[in-house]
């Protein structure tokens, strides 16, 4: 029999915890990473296991980003007090089905996880001044029904699947109910961060799991980001016009989208 590809540092006893999964590859607005990191920090998450990378990532060299070596990671943390299991990972390059099963094998066999939440940002053509919506995908009608009072919006989509949809499908085959949260992120904030989408996602989790999190810190980040963009609008008439158009519900042509995305990317990179 093939051995499970994970390494367990600790086997804690939780009572059917919920599993929250964030992906740090193609992480639009860094939503998955930011939410998991925040929960880890505020809920005293403790690292308990990891999925070993061999067989899922190529080791023909090493990737580096902004001069720093990037090593693929797939780690589990527990937040004992809140009965949560967190998982943050790079998306595997191959062996997806095996990887997703390894994730659920650990969660189900060792911790009896019964409910799954995945975190992803989805690109929106709406401006940053609009309120965000959280689009959702459920793998069973029952969980959809359980979460009907949470102001979530149904997603409808046909096309190439994200890894979260694949995970939901694998979970359904194993009888684990799950939902993917897809908060909208304005396209020009996608390559940087969107504190408003992060806060919205955390607000949902806060309410769902009664976490008692103080999310006030995000208001400052949101205010700061909004002010910077407002300043850019005052200084750059073209950018102001693009955002005005978005606010009136118009779509920008490709050139306009690129220009706006580039200017905001540079603006928000200055203070990072």
């Amino acid at each position: 029999m093939e051995r499970d590809p994970f390494e367990i540092y600790e086997s804690p006893h939780l009572k059917t915890p919920s599993l929250i999964v964030g992906w740090q590859t193609q992480d639009v607005g860094k939503l998955g990473s930011k939410v998991i990191d925040f929960l880890k920090e505020k809920l005293a998450g403790r690292e308990i296991a990891e999925i070993k990378p061999l067989g899922f990532f190529s080791f023909g060299g090493v990737r580096f980003k902004e001069d720093l070596v990037q090593v693929p990671e797939s780690k589990f943390w527990i937040c004992e007090k809140n009965n949560l299991l967190l998982f943050k990972s790079d998306e595997p390059e191959f062996g997806h089905y095996k990887f997703l099963n390894a994730l659920l094998n650990f969660a189900e066999r060792h911790l009896q996880v019964k409910e799954l939440y995945t975190l992803n940002g989805t690109i929106s053509l709406a401006p940053h001044t609009n309120p965000r919506r959280v689009l959702t995908v459920f793998n069973q009608p029952e969980i959809k029904n359980r979460l009907k009072n949470y102001e979530l919006e149904d997603m409808t989509w046909e096309g190439p699947p994200a890894i979260s949809s694949y995970l939901l499908w694998v979970a359904r085959r194993r009888g684990i109910s799950g939902v993917s949260l897809w908060p909208e992120i304005p396209f020009y904030l996608g390559p940087r961060e969107d504190p408003q989408a992060v806060k919205l996602t955390l607000s949902f989790l806060n309410r769902r799991f009664d976490l008692g999190l103080d999310l006030g810190g995000f208001d400052l980040e949101i205010k700061d980001q909004n002010e910077k963009i407002a300043q850019l609008r005052r200084e750059n008439a073209e950018i102001n016009q693009y955002i005005n158009l978005l606010e009136k519900g118009h779509r920008l042509d490709e050139e306009g989208q690129l220009k706006l995305a580039q200017e905001v990317y540079e603006l928000l990179g200055k203070e990072e």
Binding site: W157, S165, Y166, W169
Partner: protein, 302 residues
């Protein structure tokens, strides 16, 4: 990793025909067409999720409906003279961004295909693909053969319009590589005691990197299939597709400068032993829309 059989037909020493996508989809079109002509019936599949990333998801009003994976299906038919099993795969399992099968997954899938063949008493497997050759696109493609044992050579030599790889101009040693699942299946079949034959339709070398089907070569392979099975096949329904593809290829050819055309046209009268400069130069005249990326596949001399 699973095989799912919906029914267990009673078959007597069936022959197995296997098709996957590849250069010009020559093998896939040939095997799929044969399967349709004999009206083969689906009886099983290899579960896809161990091998492929899903290609489509359907989400409606917030509910995940289904994921769609490439199909890998088995079909069967009992003909008067011979029982047949078909396996048709919509993609080759691979690792990373490669286009053609390679690695552990390919090895596993090839073995699963053979598991089903052996379960039903199969003794012989045919695969089909492309033979990249320095031929002219206006010529009728020949069928090049590689087989598992000396014992079958005599039989294969009798097939019409078919030559052994060692008989191809410039390939006296008959050495080369059959990449992807066609090659792997041939090897594993031999290892597991089955006779195996790969029938490859010729495709002009300069068209091997073009993302177009090459039904002309599939037709040549199908004619050999018909001979093997002793059946008559009306392949006229492939004429329309062949005509459309010919039109596109002729449009590339019409752009060749005069001198290059002259050199290339020699291929019609003198069999070429090796690719010439025209092989490389002709790529320039292929419309970008039809150029494909990825690694090379097909069958090439060492």
């Amino acid at each position: 990793m699973g095989i799912k059989l919906y029914k267990k037909p009673k078959l007597e020493n069936p022959m197995m025909f296997v098709g996957w996508p590849g250069i010009g989809n020559i093998g896939l079109i040939a095997v799929n067409t044969l399967k349709s002509i004999v009206r083969a019936e689906e009886f099983g599949e290899i579960e896809s999720w161990d091998f492929f990333y899903p290609r489509k998801v359907s989400i409606r009003e917030g509910l995940l409906e289904y994921l769609e994976f490439p199909n890998n299906k088995f079909y069967y038919q009992r003909l008067e003279k011979k029982d047949l099993i078909f396996f048709v795969g919509e993609e080759q399992p691979t690792e990373g961004s490669r286009m053609y099968a390679r690695g552990e997954k390919a090895y596993k899938m090839a073995n699963l295909v053979l598991d089903v063949g052996l379960k039903f008493g199969c003794q012989r497997v045919y695969t089909s693909g492309a033979c990249v050759s320095p031929i002219h696109h206006q010529m009728k493609p020949r069928v090049c053969a590689v087989m598992s044992s000396e014992r079958i050579v005599k039989e294969v030599k009798k097939y019409r319009n078919t030559i052994l790889m060692s008989e191809i101009e410039g390939r006296k040693e008959g050495e080369g590589v059959i990449t992807g699942l066609n090659g792997l299946l041939l090897a594993l079949a031999k290892k597991r005691g089955l006779e195996s034959i790969c029938l490859m339709g010729e495709i002009p070398d300069w068209l091997s990197g073009v993302s177009l089907p090459y039904p002309k070569a599939s037709k040549s392979v199908l004619e050999v299939f018909a001979e093997i099975l002793g059946i008559r096949m009306d392949l006229s329904f492939l004429d329309k597709m062949e005509g459309q593809i010919e039109e596109i290829i002729e449009s590339f050819y019409s752009k060749f400068p005069h001198e290059m055309k002259e050199e290339y046209d020699q291929r019609k009268s003198v069999a070429q032993a090796k690719p010439g400069t025209v092989t490389i130069q002709a790529q320039i005249y292929i419309d970008d829309r039809f150029k494909k990326g990825g690694d090379e596949g097909g069958e090439r001399p060492i």
